[in-house]
């Protein structure tokens, strides 16, 4: 059987899974810990692919790398119809090759933007986005003219080819890289058509299309398209209005995670953005930690562009040197003078907890979010690398507290149609924590280990405006309490609309495969991202502007909880 060195969230690996699913070729997926493990860059994987990237296939000893090359091989070998890689038709084959090369471009630009935004790859984001738009314009125009000629696909064939397949995921996931498809209607229609290919399968962030059975007989449909109707309702709320700010937002007194404890080694420097300000975390050789604004008090240059040797920090602009306590002790332009105390770097609060370093930029730090699972199950906690989400923190938290979307967004994992009903549950405040208990939901696959499926019992808790925890007990069929686990989601706001979401998972079973929990959490999270990023307004509306269903009891309690605490950052309370 074909072995595919695979990663669930990789666009190029998905292309292989998609083609093999369509061609009905069985394969074995060998999961590589791509992120955050970088296993594909390790020595062991270098023997398989010295370039250190995936996918790679091993077809009974024949090893091939490069996503688009593998598509050529698989289609040529396993598609007896010859339609996906039409070697019998020179003109179409030429077009396929041409659009495959084009797809290298969309991978480098559109998918590059996605890697930048979701995994923090250091690309010039403006350049890759502009490059993707240039290519999408060309592709949209090409597909529009294909449509005019009655053609559905990029090459002039009556059937999709591997060129369509190679382009499709780059286009579909472009929005995750901040590339809107609104200007490319022909491109959007083509993605709908491609999704209807028999054997089509999804990856997180790609949803199936509505079945096109429009040609099925409909009963006596009487229509008068084109008749103007006059039931438009005037909109009268602002899209996402600026708030009138009175006094500091209490959000500044909350703790937010900024780095994983494992990464913060002695002598290391970690720049980050929190609440619209840039900061840097410095770990001294003696183990102490300093967090300060990442801005030199002299001319505002970014300090982390300079150097840090574990003892002293030197600004890269005029060479001012600061001790690990933040005091400026040397200004090279005036070597004989002692810098004044005002030239020092003010420190902000920092502490370590649950395997993360947390920062509070306010003067009166509140409590960390409640998460007793970390101590109750020592050594069974794992941290999923943070994901950047272009939405507000409260929108992300509210999504985490919601069960009713499971059958639609996490179909096959956390729910399935038609088992969509949400029974009433209990919401109350216990010791300052907002708790939803007795939350029951049918789940086909509640956790990484799979299983039978059954009714899962959830408890949700909120004790921090940008965090929420859940306790999940699978059905007896899936192992019951022994296979239970808890997750703490904490959202660290860079700006109101850009957040890094951290997920801390603690398993109950001492033999649990913690890496599998991380992978499962990342997959579920990825399925949510497009939805949450599409929510408007971006800030969570605390004033009436959305409708609710009974299943929203917890999300409404959370909104009230935010109102009571006066949280304005990431929320909107305008009513006019």
């Amino acid at each position: 059987m074909i072995k595919l060195y695979d990663y669930e969230l990789s666009v190029n690996c998905y292309k292989q899974r998609l083609l093999m699913s369509i061609l009905n070729v069985p394969f074995e997926s060998i999961l590589i810990d791509f992120f955050p493990g970088w296993e594909h860059k390790g020595e062991a994987f270098a023997e398989i692919n010295p370039l250190g990237h995936i996918p790679v296939i091993d077809d009974d000893g024949y090893i091939l790398r490069d996503a688009h090359a593998i598509l050529v091989y698989l289609a040529a070998k396993y598609d007896p119809s010859g339609r996906w890689y039409p070697t019998h038709d020179a003109e179409v084959l030429g077009e396929v090759a041409s659009w495959m090369l084009f797809a290298e471009g969309t991978t480098n630009t559109a998918s590059g933007a996605r890697l930048h935004d979701t995994l923090g790859y250091p690309f010039d984001i403006d350049a890759v986005r502009a490059g993707a738009h240039r290519l999408f314009r060309v592709l949209d125009e090409h597909l529009w003219f294909q449509e005019q000629q009655g053609r559905d696909w990029v090459a002039g064939a009556a059937h999709p080819t591997i060129a369509d397949l190679a382009l499709f995921p780059d286009v579909m996931l472009a929005e995750q890289g901040g590339i809107s498809l609104v200007d490319y209607p022909a491109l959007r229609r083509w993605t709908d058509r491609f999704k209807r290919t028999p054997g089509f399968t999804v990856m997180p962030g790609i949803y199936p299309a509505a079945p096109d059975d429009s040609r099925r007989t409909t009963v006596a449909a009487s229509g008068s398209a084109g008749r103007p109707v006059s039931i438009s309702r005037r909109a009268d709320a602002t899209w996402n209005s600026a708030e009138v700010v009175e006094g500091p937002d209490p959000i500044i007194d909350e703790w937010f995670p900024v780095a994983s404890a494992a990464d913060v080694t002695p002598g290391s420097m970690h720049p980050f953005v929190l609440l619209d300000e840039r900061y840097v975390l410095l770990r001294r050789n003696d183990g102490g930690v300093l967090v300060t604004q990442d801005t030199c008090p002299h001319r505002g240059a970014q300090l982390s562009f300079g150097s840090f040797d574990g003892e002293r920090l030197q600004c890269g602009y005029h060479g001012w040197q600061f001790g690990a306590d933040g005091r400026c002790f040397h200004q090279p332009a005036h070597p004989d003078r002692t810098p004044p105390a005002s030239a020092g770097l003010p420190a902000v609060h920092v502490r370590e907890a649950f395997g993360l370093w947390w920062v509070c930029v306010g003067s009166e730090p509140r409590n960390l979010p409640f998460y007793d699972a970390f101590e109750a199950h020592p050594g069974l906690t794992t941290i999923c690398a943070p994901k950047r989400v272009r939405s507000s923190g409260p929108r992300i938290v509210e999504n985490f507290l919601d069960m009713a979307h499971f059958p639609f967004v996490h179909e096959g994992y956390l729910g399935r149609v038609p088992e969509t009903g949400v029974a009433d549950y209990d919401v109350r405040v216990v010791g300052g924590e907002l708790l939803a208990t007795n939350c029951l939901f049918f789940q086909p696959q509640p956790g990484p280990s799979g299983g039978e499926g059954g009714v899962v019992t959830y408890t949700y808790g909120v004790s921090h405006p940008y965090a929420a925890r859940l306790v999940k007990i699978p059905s007896e069929a899936d192992g019951g309490a022994r296979e239970g686990f808890e997750i703490l989601l904490v959202v660290s706001p860079e700006t109101e609309g850009t957040n890094r979401a951290w997920m801390i998972t603690t398993a109950y079973n001492p033999e649990a495969d913690l890496a599998a929990f991380n992978a499962f959490g990342a997959l579920i999270f990825e399925q949510d991202v497009d939805i949450v990023e599409s929510q408007r307004p971006v800030r969570l509306p605390l004033a009436p502007s959305e409708l609710h269903q009974r299943a929203d009891q917890m999300s409404l309690a959370y909104r009230r909880w935010l109102i009571e605490r006066g949280i304005r950052y990431g929320t909107s309370s305008n009513v006019d």
């Binding site: 229609r189 409909t218 959305e546 269903q549 009974r550």
Partner: protein
Amino acid sequence: MEDLTANWYPIARSDDLPPRHVFHGLLLGRELALWRADDGYVNVWENRCLHRGVRLTLGHNEGRELRCQYHGWRYANRSAGCTYIPAHPADAPARTICNVTFPMVERYGFVWTGEAPQGDVPAIASLDTGDPFALRSVPANVEPHVVLDALASYHFAPETEVPDAGHGTAGHADALVSLTNRGVGWIELTSIQLGEAREAKSTIVFFVQPVDSARSVIRSVLSRSPEPGSELAVLRYHSTRINRLRDALEAEAKKRPTPEPMVARIGQVSLEPSTMPETAVDGRVGGHLTVVVAGKRQVGEGIVSFEFEPVEGQLPTFQPGAHIDVHLPNGLVRQYSLVNGPGEQGRYVIGVKLEPGSRGGSSCLHDLVREGDLLAISQPRNNFPLRRDSFRTVLIAGGIGVTPLLSMAQALQVSSLDFALHYFAQSPDHAAFADILEVLGDRVTFYFGLSPAATGEALRTLLESPGEGENVYICGPGPMLDAARATAAAAGWPDRAVHFEYFKNTTQLDTSTAFEVELARSALTLSVPPGSSIMEVLRNNGVAVPSSCEQGACGTCVVAVLGGEPDHQDVYLNESERTARDRMTICVSRSRTPRLVLDI
């Protein structure tokens, strides 16, 4: 400054909206979701689910309804009303849940809309008299007014002169182009080219869709179609030239400061952030609608169907299982189930059987009401809601009782959910709505001319094994209903899985109690003696209250209870609604407490 919201703009080409697709549109900074339903109607909605603000363009166009990708809320074609909330499958969504819609006209090959457009779509003589041929639309990251000004100097050759378009000569350099007409957001140019033997002439109209303060879509249309075979060459010719113009304008625009983006105002709903919706009771009083009888036809032996179309505006959203009150010319009010499939919002269809002992209801409809007549009907109400979370749904119809089940069957079929319809009728001629039954195909099993004993036997067979997660819906004549209920109970079906609809309340009413009703809003306290209903007492004291069946079956007279404990004697409210004690039917229900406070 000009009020852009008062204008009509083209927002898509008509062929941008194929079936089962949701088009993502932008106008004046507002995102729109456009979708063409299977009946051809183009819906233009705000691109935002009312529930959690998710883009509807991520959702599914299911042909009759649009389904949001986040929580699966469904919105109906035309009315944009919410028809189903999957998290609460047993409840009918409140009728007030309705998406924000925008007016729509299809003309000149485009779909037109506007925020609050005044008047009509621009009338352009050259397009009205010609054979308009829409060109490729080109988005441009340039201010709309700049684009419109630049288009005035667009240079082009008449389509017969376009290279590769038949006998074209490509000599557009000597074509003379002049601005021949202009209006708000559009210009018309005419190109004349003198050849050796003839004069070629062509007219193009440009519309600029203002996407945002610095973004536009250039939409263009020729006043007549090119000669057959040369369409593609003409499309390419203009596409290339408009692209070139766009590139030049974008290069210039980059040198200017970008204007502030437009801020679209989003729709508001009047709900407190903390309000929790109650289990929906879709029986609130609504105004009457006037409809025209657009069709009347025989659909089975003794059965006539009526199609009602709105005189103006849209018909309200209905859900499978819903019924309407029909106000008859003879003053009677009768309830009839809607036969419509999901999203068929263009007209309501009912089926009426001529009852032998008719007291003037069915005979009036059969004999007196004709096509073209105007009738008053109520808003649709649903006391027979369809759950869509069943693994399998069994529908059992007796005679004319098939009508609500036909609506349900079509909804289940469209959603690809498993169901079977068992239809008991006197004879094949008595089976109504053959057209719908044909579409349902092998999901329908017929039972013709069975004796009561044979009917009982058939019911026993098809109800013999209750399955987990299955639901039964039964509608038919009283004796069959009772038999089916008894059979289901004996076979072990739980009560909650067996659903009936009553058009009559056969409960023995107890009117022996006496109590007081306080009308909170009217500041009036009245006493209700034994033998009188609350409704009668109210009417005798000049308080007008709407009613329909007056036997506790239809829900027209439901009012909110603010104090006291109602003595429910109706068959309209379900068990959870009864235990909530916050509403009651005042035609038959009474009070368990000496005093009852009503929100009237």
